[in-house]
């Protein structure tokens, strides 16, 4: 077998594996456009006959058959909670990451380790005390309560990523800027921040996705349409006696689209950030 043939075979095999990886997701996307009747039919209908946007209209309460689940409010809650907690977490995390990258102080490595360990606490284990404490303080079932929690769970990872990126920026640059008359504050925003910007952006997207996708904590800390997020709302469909597969699929598509776009945008930085943070320490 020649080299060319072997390369071709590997290519075909890889392609098939990738296809297999995609099929489950694509099947859900396809189902989002099919009516429930066709999904439930026996024997199975393999070639879709009836594709439409009806399921999307239904879950947003626009079509003829309205689903009694306020997906619109869930979307709004998810957006507000994810964006706010990301902005706050990145601001806090960036300042912490800079401290770790640029300064030496006693107890630095153990501080770093403790911050990272705080991230290992399983969401469901953390939800128990938070559920009680948030009930006492009135933060339960509010967007603010969830935002505070998501900010905290995003901070350690943001610190880890930004620390790696700031360490890549040569220290001399900021020193040179300060000799030329910049204050340290100016030197940071004019020199170091622009150079680490792509890394910070990927940290932000990571934080956003964590918040957008989180379920274990949100499922206990939110109760009503005031604060329920999309992942928690998805379970509304199964709470009923019959499962509305088409509606759930449509909602799944709505949850996945922002994540899809954002991940495509940062895939390169994502890999860089994850690896050099760990390997070249």
């Amino acid at each position: 077998m020649s080299r060319g043939q072997r390369d071709f075979l590997i290519w075909v095999a890889t392609f098939l594996v990738m296809l297999a990886i995609c099929i489950p997701g694509l099947w859900v996307v396809l189902s989002a456009f099919r009516p429930n009747g066709e999904i439930l039919t026996k024997p199975a209908v393999w070639i879709p006959r009836d594709l439409s946007f009806d399921n999307f209209r239904a879950i947003f309460g626009l079509g003829d058959n309205v689903v009694g689940i306020p997906v619109g409010s869930y979307f709004w809650n998810s957006a507000v909670i994810s964006v706010t907690s990301t902005v706050v977490a990145v601001t806090i995390g960036m300042s912490g990451g800079y401290a770790f990258a640029r300064y030496r102080f006693p107890g630095k490595s153990s501080a770093f380790l403790w911050l990272m360990l705080s991230r290992t606490v399983p969401g469901i284990a953390l939800s128990l005390p938070l559920f009680i404490l948030w009930s006492w303080t009135g933060l339960i079932d509010t967007k603010l309560g969830v935002i505070i929690v998501y900010t905290a769970i995003n901070v350690p990872f943001t610190i880890w990523l930004t620390e790696g990126f700031f360490r890549q920026v040569p220290r001399d640059l900021s020193e040179a800027a300060q000799i030329d008359g910049c204050t340290p504050w100016q030197a940071f925003w004019k020199v170091e921040f622009p150079l680490a910007k792509s890394g910070i952006a990927s940290a932000a997207i990571f934080a956003f996705l964590t918040s957008w996708n989180e379920y274990a904590l949100a499922s206990q800390l939110t109760r009503s349409t005031d604060s329920k997020t999309l992942p928690v709302g998805l379970m509304d469909f199964t709470a009923q006696f019959t499962i509305d597969w088409a509606g759930m699929s449509a909602m799944a598509v709505i949850i996945i689209i922002p994540a899809l776009i954002l991940t495509f945008l940062v895939q390169k930085h994502l890999i860089a950030g994850l690896t050099f943070g760990g390997v070249k320490g």
Binding site: D7, G123, L126, I159
Partner: protein, 302 residues
């Protein structure tokens, strides 16, 4: 006190920069954990608030540690993690090696490979609950249409089939993290040692075993460390797919905690279990972090 003040004065800038991060983690993670540690020693039930002061010492822990359901869930969790993490690592390694070999369309393949990473666990759970459903699931439909099976296979009802289905979902979701990081390792790999070994007459297996694999180990451990940070995400998948049922057959430690706390309203006992799960997570992370450090040192000695 004096030493403390001097420490703060000498390191004012980094401490000020770190203060907000430390503060929010104290409030949202450490403080609640101290509270839940205390609750683990009380007979606290949500429906009787005054029971928070009902101190019962180690009785919760004794109950938990003698509870057959708890041990079953714990062993199932450990088995689940062992199976899932090992298969994810192996499949991720294969996938990365394959993608590394192809030259045409590699970027596209890499992007497709990351597809499952964009799915939240709750969606992965829903997706496979839908596919493995015994009446309308695509897997059963396909098997019946192809004549491979006459009856519907109860993927999410049978004990081991359900375990396998959940593990499948978990592996589908997380293999790409391994593949991506191992691929990054392959890209970063120096060419010279491999060519030198080839010239010296090593077979491709020997090259892989003694050069490629040791070089990839730190990357594998990074992936393991990152994964062990969020092994508890499996809770989301199980909660959607089976809810720990039927009859507790797919109960993992995390779903058992949720059931004890919120359905049975036994907060005290649930907190005792939660501490076991926290220790489990910390152990996994610490274990792989140690491995990562060791592998890194080994690499430095090259």
């Amino acid at each position: 006190m004096k030493r403390m003040r001097r420490y703060v004065r000498n390191n004012a800038v980094p401490l000020a920069l770190l203060a907000p991060a430390v503060m929010i983690i104290l409030v949202v993670v450490l403080l609640p954990l101290i509270f839940s540690f205390y609750t683990g020693f009380t007979n606290y039930r949500l429906i009787r608030p005054e029971s928070l002061w009902d101190f019962i010492g180690l009785r919760n822990y004794a109950r938990v540690l003698t509870d057959a359901d708890f041990w079953a869930a714990l062993w199932r969790t450990v088995l689940f993690l062992t199976v899932a993490l090992n298969l994810e690592m192996l499949l991720g390694l294969c996938l990365a090696l394959m993608v590394n070999r192809i030259t045409w369309g590699q970027r596209t393949m890499r992007t497709i490979m990351m597809f499952p990473m964009m799915f939240s666990p709750i969606l992965v759970g829903f997706q496979f609950k839908y596919m493995f459903n015994d009446t309308i699931g695509v897997v059963n439909n396909a098997l019946q249409s192809l004549g491979l099976s006459q009856k519907a296979i109860p993927f999410l009802v049978d004990r081991w089939l359900a375990f396998g289905s959940i593990a499948f979902a978990e592996i589908w979701m997380s293999t790409s993290i391994f593949a991506i990081l191992i691929l990054a390792g392959l890209f970063a790999m120096p060419r010279d040692p491999i060519e030198a070994a080839r010239v010296d007459g090593c077979t491709s297996w020997q090259v892989f075993r003694h050069i490629t694999l040791p070089f990839l180990m730190p990357f594998i451990y990074i992936a393991m460390t990152i994964r062990s940070l969020d092994v508890a995400r499996a809770y989301d998948i199980v909660d959607v797919m089976t809810g720990g049922g039927p009859a507790g057959r797919t109960e993992l430690l995390w779903t058992l905690i949720a059931r004890t706390a919120y359905d049975d309203a036994r907060m005290g006992r649930a907190n005792a279990m939660a501490y076991v799960s926290i220790l489990l997570s910390i152990f996994f992370t610490w274990f792989f972090f140690r491995k990562l450090m060791a592998a890194r040192q080994h690499l430095g000695a090259f």
